[in-house]
Amino acid sequence: MYIVASLAIVMTMCLALTRALLGPTVYDRVLAVNMFGTKTVLLLAVVAFLNGRTDFLDLALAYALINFIGVLAVLVFFQSSRERAAGKPGEQR
């Protein structure tokens, strides 16, 4: 059963990767990356059970906490590049 779950998750990862490759906008790619991240967390958890080493759930936990930072960094990046493009930095508070 773990296998089924993990296979489904891996399939979803493939789909997400396809989306990341297809784009078409950068937002789609970020979305795909985000999806990929959460799927990684799930897969790590499932595989930890599959291998019988549940003490490795720490890894999944780490991902759950950190993956989010990457996406927020992207947001800041978008915002700052927009500010730069607008030529009026800091205006958009």
Binding site: N51, G52, R53, D55, F56
Partner: protein, 119 residues
């Protein structure tokens, strides 16, 4: 199955060469750095693949009396170090790229070369 046991090596080779290709054939400096990190990741994969023992598990011995098979800890240690080296190199490379951008206003290798020739 015998052949599949070598698949990791092939992926290692493929990744290595993809990274290498980006390093050589791409002009953008950030792209080169991305290529560099793929290049290094390939080596990580090689070492970690070496460490795997069939039916084994991560080398964390919670119960020394249980007769478990453990994967090889040594390559993992080496790669921990190598990952750190990789991120350090990338960080330094990015810093240089930022400075290059400030000095040349471009991060395309061929344009930089053209600017250098002109001066």
């Amino acid at each position: 199955m015998e052949i599949l046991g070598l698949y990791n090596y092939w992926v290692f080779g493929a990744l290595l060469m993809i990274g290498f290709f980006a390093l050589i054939a791409r002009q953008n400096l950030v792209k080169k750095l991305l290529g560099l990190s793929i290049f290094q990741s390939a080596v990580f994969l090689l070492y970690i693949s070496l460490a795997k023992v069939e039916g084994g598990t991560a080398p964390i011995i919670l119960d020394p009396t249980a007769a478990e098979i453990f994967s090889n800890p040594l390559p993992q240690v080496l790669i921990l170090t190598a990952i750190v080296v990789g991120i350090s190199t990338t960080a330094l490379g990015l810093a240089i790229v930022v400075r290059i951008r400030e000095a040349y206003d471009t991060i395309e290798d061929d344009e930089i070369r053209r600017l250098d020739r002109r001066s």
